[in-house]
């Protein structure tokens, strides 16, 4: 049927009413949504929220970290991606007297991790310590972003951008969860962000996946010593007060994926390690630890979920290394 057949003249007032009904419905729904989300602050970002509800019920580290990162109960943070997620913040807190929160981003890239770090530092003028896991993605010679959406709007400074991003089904879902937390009908997620891998990956199961994504060698000699993400991290660390301790660590990978001495990969790895070591050089109670070594622990597949994700036995060793470094700095004895 041609359109002309469905648009002959009719009761103009009634059609105006129809148009009004559509637009008013849309406007009311949008206004209600904004009222709800701005009153509740679905992601506990601190940008809005009038009810004083604390925390989120969210297992997604991309969004849950905002609430944790601004929590005044913590003064220290673990930053990284899933390869730093198993480091237990409560264990570090007990051993150091600081208050650690786990802020690792699953699947995170250096840009995303630096964004979370920046958010944490903005909300903690007097930070205690930082433990930063630098997986191979930090060692690229040229910046390249991951093709995935990361909620930069959540960690940014603009309330307007944040408000714009609240127009989504996910924001409604989070808002409802926060209301339930406020009413005491829902448990908030662990404020410290503790993660237990054995919940998800049963012990004894090694998956032949996730080989470390070591970056390709530098395209030119000029680029060989250039690590833009490490430089950016260096800038951040240099701006920190001298009493903020920083431990930068290279997470372990299963032994077969550790670059063999004498190879081009090992040379590249060592260059990146040098750059990472420089970020904490001279800083009190700070250290660089390279856990990516070939030893009995990394040779045993029972200590890994896959090639890059270690289990709690290794996580405890890493935690102990961080504690020793925060105590003794570069002279710390690392048992690994």
């Amino acid at each position: 049927m041609p359109v002309s057949a469905i648009s002959t003249s009719d009761g103009i007032t009634d059609w105006s009413r129809c148009l009004r009904a559509c637009l008013v419905t849309l406007a009311i729904c949008a206004a209600l949504l904004f009222a709800l989300t701005i009153a509740v602050d679905p992601y506990d970002s601190g940008k809005f929220g009038f009810f004083g509800i604390n925390g989120v019920a969210d297992r997604n580290t991309l969004t849950a970290n905002a609430s944790r990162a601004r929590d005044p109960d913590f003064d220290s943070a673990i930053i990284g991606n899933s390869t730093a997620l198993l480091i237990n913040p409560a264990a570090l807190s007990r051993a150091t007297g600081l208050h650690f929160v786990q802020l690792s981003v699953v699947g995170g890239s250096p840009r995303e991790e630096l964004t979370v770090l920046d958010f944490f530092l903005r909300h903690h003028a007097h930070a205690g310590a930082l433990a930063i896991g630098a997986d191979p993605s930090w060692c690229v010679h040229e910046r390249k972003d991951k093709p995935r959406p990361f909620p930069y709007w959540l960690y940014g400074r603009s309330r307007l951008v944040y408000a714009g991003a609240l127009f989504s089904g996910a924001a409604i879902e989070h808002a409802v969860q926060r209301v339930q937390i406020g009413l005491g009908k829902r448990q908030r997620s662990d404020p410290a962000g503790t993660f237990d891998s054995e919940d998800t990956w049963p012990i004894g199961e090694f998956r032949n996946t996730n080989r470390p994504s070591d970056p390709p060698p530098a395209a030119s000699t000029a680029l060989r010593g250039v690590f833009p993400w490490v430089s950016e991290l260096d800038d951040v660390i240099k701006k920190l007060p001298a009493d903020v301790s920083v431990v930068v660590l290279v997470p372990p990978t299963a032994a077969p994926t550790v670059p063999q001495p004498g190879t081009a990969e090992a040379t590249e790895r060592e260059a990146c390690n040098m750059a990472l070591r420089q970020t904490v050089a001279g800083r009190p109670h700070s250290n660089f630890i390279n856990y990516r070594v070939d030893n009995a622990l990394t040779r045993d597949h029972a200590n890994f979920i896959d090639y890059i994700h270690y289990r709690s036995k290794i996580a405890r060793k890493i935690g102990a290394g961080i504690v020793a470094s925060l105590r003794d700095g570069e002279t710390a004895q690392i048992d690994f």
């Binding site: 359109v3 003249s9 009719d10 009413r17 129809c18 009904a21 849309l26 949504l33 409604i172």
Partner: protein
């Protein structure tokens, strides 16, 4: 700029409506304002290519004026050839180079050519006008009117393909006449329906089947998911029908009635019926500008006319396939449909009457199976999927496959969206528009998740 994205829906469209509302009282301003809005729309994605569009409009318009002055039939012919060469360069250079290299046994270099959005569509618009001009059936037009015919933003990127005679006289009319409220109400229904089809039907299927096609590029799909790949033609129906409905709705907001592009094609009882319901404006173009000229040309003796007609059908459908993309999969797909149309025509003339239900089932199966070839990135990938059909589908995944079970029912059972909208808007129903507002709200919420996928026909 995508119709299903915030920049278009929340910024460009409201701004365009406001600007056009201000221009509407001034007859001289209506067409230039719409042209400028359309160019701004086109420039959003890739600004340099707007120069190509403007040059294309200018050259073709100058050719039409030159023909008007000198009456040389070679002028529009040269313009048509030039249009085809430009389209061929952008779309087929690497394809022909690769095949030439294969024939010569020497790999040819791959050129880094980006296909300008909508070039397949605006090239065909030029051709429709120039052919009719050359035949003495089309008048000359002022530059701004011709520019709007080519660039009118609702149809610029992926159609519907509009014949100049369908829209030229609509351009420049006053939109805000006393009955505009009804046209706008109908327009909102089309836009809502189109967004719904795209986001809640097409994209849901794509989410399930895209990984299958990705897997098939490298190996036989042995996990049973090959069966999911058969749903591609349902996905592309709602993707493109959704796009077309949005375009029709947008056209109405600016006072232009664009032609319908789909008419419930999966309710067709034969392959011929299917092609009269699927991408109608393209098939009308191919019928009028390829098939009829081939049939009417005196190539074979009169007694071989049926043979010539069948060959014309095959050639038309192969070209139809090639128009969709520079890949042997498209050519094979077109050839298969051409053969099917010939077989169906012969059956109708010589065979027994086909029961409607059987005809429908055969048509649907044929379209879904050949759709795999259309979607697969190579013939090898398509074969990997067909081989995978030997493995049964894992039905235990239940709810994940729900969309693949339900969405096809919409295609098989519902009338065309324009018929549904015509029925619902026979008289003003405020409750319907409350529902419409709610649906738009849910759509905008879904778009807020930023899971925005481009329309399939932008690639063709």
């Amino acid at each position: 700029m995508l119709f299903n994205d915030y920049p278009f829906l929340l910024v460009f469209l409201p701004a365009a409506l406001l600007i056009f509302r201000l221009a509407d009282p001034y007859p001289q301003a209506r067409i230039p304002v719409l042209v400028l809005l359309s160019l701004a729309f086109y420039a959003y994605g890739n600004p340099p290519y707007v120069l190509l569009l403007i040059a294309s409009i200018a050259i073709n318009w100058l050719a039409s004026r030159a023909f008007g002055r000198f009456k040389l039939r070679a002028i529009p012919l040269a313009a048509i050839v030039l249009n085809l060469l430009v389209l061929g360069f952008f779309k087929y250079t690497n394809f022909f180079a690769a095949n030439l290299g294969w024939l010569l046994g020497e790999p040819m270099p791959h050129l880094d050519i980006v296909l300008p959005l909508g070039i397949s569509f605006f090239t065909f618009h030029h051709i429709m006008y120039l052919v009719d001009l050359r035949r003495g059936r089309a008048p000359l037009y002022a530059f701004d009117r011709y520019a709007l015919y080519i660039s009118f933003f609702p149809q610029l990127l992926a159609g519907p393909l509009v014949r100049w005679s369908e829209v030229m006289e609509q351009f420049g009319r006053k939109v805000y006449v006393p009955t505009w409220q009804r046209d706008f109400a109908v327009a909102i229904c089309f836009i809502t329906a189109g967004l719904f089809e795209k986001i809640f039907l097409a994209d849901r299927i794509a989410h399930n089947i895209d990984p299958v096609y990705a897997l098939a590029q490298g190996a036989v799909v042995t996990n049973g998911d090959a069966w999911l790949a058969l749903a591609f033609n349902i996905q592309i129906l709602f993707d493109f029908a959704g796009y077309s409905d949005i375009a029709i709705g947008l056209g109405l907001l600016f006072g232009i009635r664009l032609p319908f592009n789909f008419n419930a094609p999966f309710r067709a009882a034969s392959i011929q019926d299917f092609w009269q319901r699927w991408h109608i404006t393209l098939m009308n173009f191919l019928r009028d500008y390829v098939y009829f000229p081939l049939v009417n040309a005196r190539i074979l003796p009169r007694r071989f006319l049926p043979l010539q007609s069948q060959a014309a059908m095959l050639i038309t459908m192969v070209l139809c396939g090639l128009w969709h993309g520079a890949n042997w999969t498209f050519i094979l797909w077109g050839a298969l449909h051409g053969c099917a149309l010939i077989v169906a025509a012969l059956w109708r003339r010589h065979g027994p009457r086909m029961p409607a239900l059987l005809g429908w089932a055969l048509t649907v199966i044929f379209v879904l199976v050949t759709g795999v070839i259309f979607r697969a990135t190579s013939v090898h990938a398509a074969l990997n999927i067909f081989e995978g059909l030997g493995h049964s589908l894992d039905l235990e995944r239940g709810k994940h496959l729900l969309s693949l079970a339900i969405v096809p029912l919409f295609a098989f059972l519902l009338p065309a969206s324009q018929d549904i909208i015509a029925y619902l808007t026979r008289r003003p129903r405020p409750w319907l528009f409350v529902l419409n507002g709610l649906t738009l709200f849910v759509i905008l919420l879904d778009l807020g998740e930023r899971n925005i996928a481009g329309f399939g026909y932008f690639n063709f």
